[in-house]
Amino acid sequence: MLSLLLIILAATFFTGIIIRTKSVASGRKGPGVFQPVKDVIRLFKKGAVYSETTSFVFRLAPTIYFASVFVAMLVVPFGQSKGIISFNGDFIFFAYILGIGKFFSIIGAMDTGNSFEGMGASREALYSMFAEPAFFILMGSLALLTGFTSFQEIFSALHLGSSISYALAVMAAFVFLMIAMIENSRMPLDDPKTHLELTMVHEVMILDNSGFDLGLIFTAGYLKFAIYGAIIFNLFSGTIAYQYAIPMFFGMQAFLAFVVGMIESFMARFRMNHNAQFIVVLSSVSLLIFFGALLVSGKFI
C-alpha cells in the first residue's frame, strides 16, 4: 500500500522535473513542475475523436495499456513493505503484464492503417524485444544471489550481502534506468519533443489518440517512470527506517528525473540503427551482473 501511494506521488512530479530541467538548461523558464498533471486533467475532461478506419481494438488499446501499467505498479514493493500483490516469481508477472500493455498499444497503432504508426509500432516492438533479456538476466541474477523469487524478498535480502552486492546494485541501477528510458521512449533512443513523424518511436504511435485516451496514455507514461524509479530505489534501500527512506525515495526520484533531463539537454539522439546495438549492450551489462552473482554465491566450479 505504501509503495502504491509513493509511486503515484512521485509520478506527479517526475516528468515535470524532466521538462523543467530541460527548460532551464536551454535558458528558458519553463512550465511548472506539475504542468504534466494539469495537462492530463485537461485531457480527461475531453471526449475522444476516433478515425473511421479504426476498429474496437483502437478504442480498447489505451485502456488496456493504462490498466497493465497500473497492475504492474501493484507488485512493486517499498523497502520492507510489500506491494499490494506479492508472490513468488512476481517479477515475471511484472514484465509480462507490461508486455500485454505494450502489445495492445502496438496493435492499436497498427489498427489506424497509418504508415507512420506502423513504423513506430515496429520500432517499439523491436526495442522492447531487445530490452527483455536485459531485464530477465538482471532479475534472474538477483534472484540467484539472494535465493528468493519475489520483488520484495529479493530487495530486502540484497543489502545483506558484501560490498560487491552494492557494486552489482549500481550496475543494476544503470540497467533499470536505461530500461526506463526505453520503455518511456526518451532520449537518447527517442526524442519526445520532435515534430518529425519519421524519426519518432512512441509519439508516432499515439498520433491518432485524443482526449481521454491520450490522457490515459500520458498517465501511464508518468507512472512507468516512477515505477522504475521505485525499483532503482529498492536496490539500495534495504532495511532503512521509513522516516529516512521516504524522503530518500522522493530525493532519488527527483535526482533521476534531473539526470534524464540533463541527458536530454546535452546530447543528440542516437542514429536509429545504433539504438538496437545500444539496447543489446544492456543485456551484456546484465550478464556481467550475472557473473558477479555467480562469483558472490560461489557457484563457479
Binding site: S26, G27, S115, T194, L198, T199, E264, A268
Partner: protein, 499 residues
C-alpha cells in the same frame, strides 16, 4: 559560332542572339557542356512566339566569366531529341518546357510534371490524378509525407519506397505553392509592384531575389548603380547569409534532438535579423533593396552598431560551433548521412552550397562577380564528402567568411550620395540575364522586352530548382529516420521552386 557571349547583368538586343535550327542548337549546346565541368546551364526556357515556341539556352562559363546565349525556334508538333538523355542537368528544364508548351521529347527519361503551372499546356493533368512511382512488392512499403507537414513549413509531397527502415527511392512532387509569379511580373506594370514581387519569390531569400531583380532592371534601363547602393546590397546579402545559415544550424540541431545547439543557434540568429530591422525596419529585409535607389543609406552610426553586434555575436557563435563539432553524439548523426557524390552533383547540375559541399566549385560571387564581390576577391569554401556533416560545416565556414567580409566592408563605408532615379524605360526588344549568389546558391533572372519596351517574358530560376533532386538522391539507402536531418541540411525552398 551560333551563340553570343555576354557578361553577367549585360543587356543585349534580342536580334543579337543567333538563332539556329534545333539540330545545330542541340549539337552546339551539347558540345559546350559535355566534358566541361566548368560550364553549366543557368537557364533554359521557352516562350510562345506565334504558333511556335522559341527556346533560349544560357550556359555560364565559370573560367571565362561569360554566359553563352543561343536560341532556336521549334513547333509544338516537332518531336525533339532531349539533352537529358546524356546531360541530366537539363532534365528539369525540358520537363518544364514539356509541361508549359506540350513539346514532346523522343528520348527524355521521365517527362514528369514539374509544378502544375496555371498556364500549363495540358490542363487535364492535375496533382490529384498524378501516378506516383509505385511498387507491387509485398516486402516493400510506401510512406507518403505531406503536402501538409508536421512543422510549420511549406507544402510538398514526399513519397518514399522503403525496405523496412531503409529508403530505396524517394519521389518529390511539388507545385502546391504555385502562384504564377512569372506571369505576375508581366501583369503588374509598376516598378514598385515588381520589386516587392521579387522579394516574395522565396521568403528566406528576400535580399537575393531583390538584388537580382534590381540588377536586371537597372541593366535594362541603362542605369549604373552608385557605389553606396551596391555597398548596401553586398552587405545585405552577407547579413542574410549569416542569418539563414545560423538558423539552419539551429534547425539541424533540433532534428538530431540536440537541445543546447538548437536553443543557442536559434538565439544567435536574432541579433542579426534585429539589426536588419534597425537598418530598414524589417527583420527579413523586405523593402531594403529597390532598383535605382539606395532606399536606406548605410550610415557611419549603423556601421558602429553593426560592429558592436558582431563583436558580441562572433565569440558566442564560435563557442557554440566548437561545442557542436566536438560532440560525438552529434557527429555520429551527421557523418556519412545523406551522401551526394561529386559525380552525381556535377551530373544533375546542382548549384550553390550543395555543389560546394561535394567539391564542385560553383559560386557566382567568384565566377561572375557582381556588386562589390570583385573587390572582396571571394574564395569559395569547398568541402569534399557531400554528407550532412559537409553541409553543416560549410554553413559554419561561410558564416565565418561572411563575418570577415562584413568587417572589411564596414571599415570603409562609402559616403551616401543623392539618389538619381531611373529615367529611362527598359530598352525595347532586348534580353538581359542577371546572376546573384544568394545564401542558397545561384539565382538567375532573365527578362525579355517587346518592341515597346514592356516586359514580355520574365523567367526565374531559384537554386532549389535543381537542388531538390540532390535531396531525393542523397537519402537512398539511408534510414528513413534520417530523412528530416537530410532535408534540413539542404533547406530548399518550395515557393522558389513552385514560383
Amino acid at each position: 559560332m551560333n551563340y553570343i557571349s555576354i557578361k553577367n547583368n549585360q543587356t543585349i538586343l534580342l536580334s543579337d542572339i543567333p538563332e539556329s535550327n534545333y539540330e545545330s542548337f542541340f549539337d552546339m549546346n551539347f558540345g559546350l557542356i559535355s566534358g566541361h565541368p566548368a560550364r553549366h546551364c543557368v537557364n533554359y526556357f521557352g516562350y510562345k512566339a506565334g504558333n511556335n515556341v522559341k527556346l533560349i539556352c544560357c550556359i555560364a562559363d565559370d573560367t571565362t566569366h561569360e554566359i553563352l546565349v543561343s536560341t532556336c525556334l521549334v513547333h509544338k508538333t516537332h518531336e525533339l531529341e532531349s539533352f537529358s538523355k546524356e546531360l541530366l542537368c537539363f532534365e528539369k528544364f525540358e520537363r518544364e518546357i514539356h509541361e508549359n508548351f506540350g513539346i514532346n521529347y523522343i528520348d527524355h527519361l521521365w517527362l514528369k510534371p514539374v509544378r502544375y503551372a496555371n498556364n500549363r499546356d495540358d490542363k487535364s493533368q492535375t496533382i490529384a490524378n498524378y501516378p506516383f512511382f509505385s511498387i507491387d512488392s509485398e516486402e516493400l512499403h510506401e510512406v507518403g509525407v505531406g503536402p501538409i507537414h508536421a512543422g510549420i513549413i511549406e507544402p510538398g509531397h514526399f513519397r518514399f519506397i522503403c525496405n523496412g527502415e531503409q529508403i530505396l527511392h524517394l519521389e518529390i512532387q511539388l507545385g502546391y505553392q504555385h502562384r504564377g509569379i512569372e506571369q505576375l511580373f508581366i501583369n503588374n506594370k509598376k516598378l514598385l509592384q515588381r520589386a516587392t514581387l521579387a522579394e516574395d519569390i522565396a521568403g528566406d531569400t528576400v535580399v537575393g531575389h531583390g538584388v537580382t531583380f534590381a540588377h536586371l532592371w537597372e541593366s535594362m534601363c541603362g542605369y549604373e548603380a552608385q557605389l553606396d547602393t551596391e555597398f548596401s546590397r553586398t552587405l545585405a546579402l552577407e547579413l542574410e547569409r549569416i542569418a539563414v545559415h545560423v538558423g539552419d544550424l539551429s534547425g539541424a540541431c533540433t532534428d538530431i534532438a540536440y537541445q543546447l545547439g538548437s536553443a543557442v543557434f536559434g538565439r544567435l540568429r536574432t541579433p542579426i535579423i534585429n539589426f536588419l530591422q534597425e537598418w530598414c525596419g524589417n527583420r527579413i529585409a523586405k523593402g531594403l533593396i529597390r532598383p535605382g535607389r539606395n532606399q536606406f543609406p548605410f550610415t557611419q552610426e549603423l556601421g558602429e552598431r553593426l560592429k558592436h553586434v558582431l563583436d558580441v555575436f562572433e565569440p558566442e557563435f564560435n563557442e557554440m560551433s566548437e561545442k557542436l563539432f566536438s560532440l560525438s553524439s552529434a557527429l555520429s548523426r551527421f557523418e556519412r548521412t545523406g551522401l551526394v557524390s561529386n559525380e552525381d552533383a556535377t551530373k544533375i547540375g546542382v548549384v550553390g552550397m550543395v555543389a560546394r559541399m561535394t567539391n564542385l566549385n560553383r559560386d557566382i560571387r567568384s565566377s561572375h562577380p557582381f556588386s562589390l564581390y570583385s573587390e572582396l576577391a571571394h574564395q569559395p569554401i569547398l568541402k569534399r564528402h557531400g554528407d550532412v556533416y559537409s553541409r553543416v560545416q560549410i554553413r559554419r565556414k561561410e558564416v565565418e567568411q561572411s563575418l570577415q567580409y562584413i568587417r572589411t566592408l564596414i571599415a570603409n563605408i562609402p559616403a551616401p550620395t543623392e539618389n538619381k532615379s531611373i529615367t529611362d524605360a527598359p530598352k525595347p526588344s532586348s534580353f538581359c540575364l542577371s546572376l546573384v549568389e544568394g545564401w542558397r546558391g545561384e539565382i538567375c533572372h532573365c527578362a525579355l522586352t517587346d518592341k515597346k519596351g514592356d516586359l514580355m517574358i520574365y523567367k526565374i530560376k531559384d537554386p532549389s530548382f535543381h537542388n531538390w533532386l540532390a535531396l531525393a538522391l542523397c537519402v537512398r539507402n539511408n534510414e528513413i529516420s534520417d530523412f528530416p536531418i537530410c532535408n534540413k541540411s539542404f533547406n530548399l525552398s518550395y515557393s522558389g521552386h513552385d514560383l
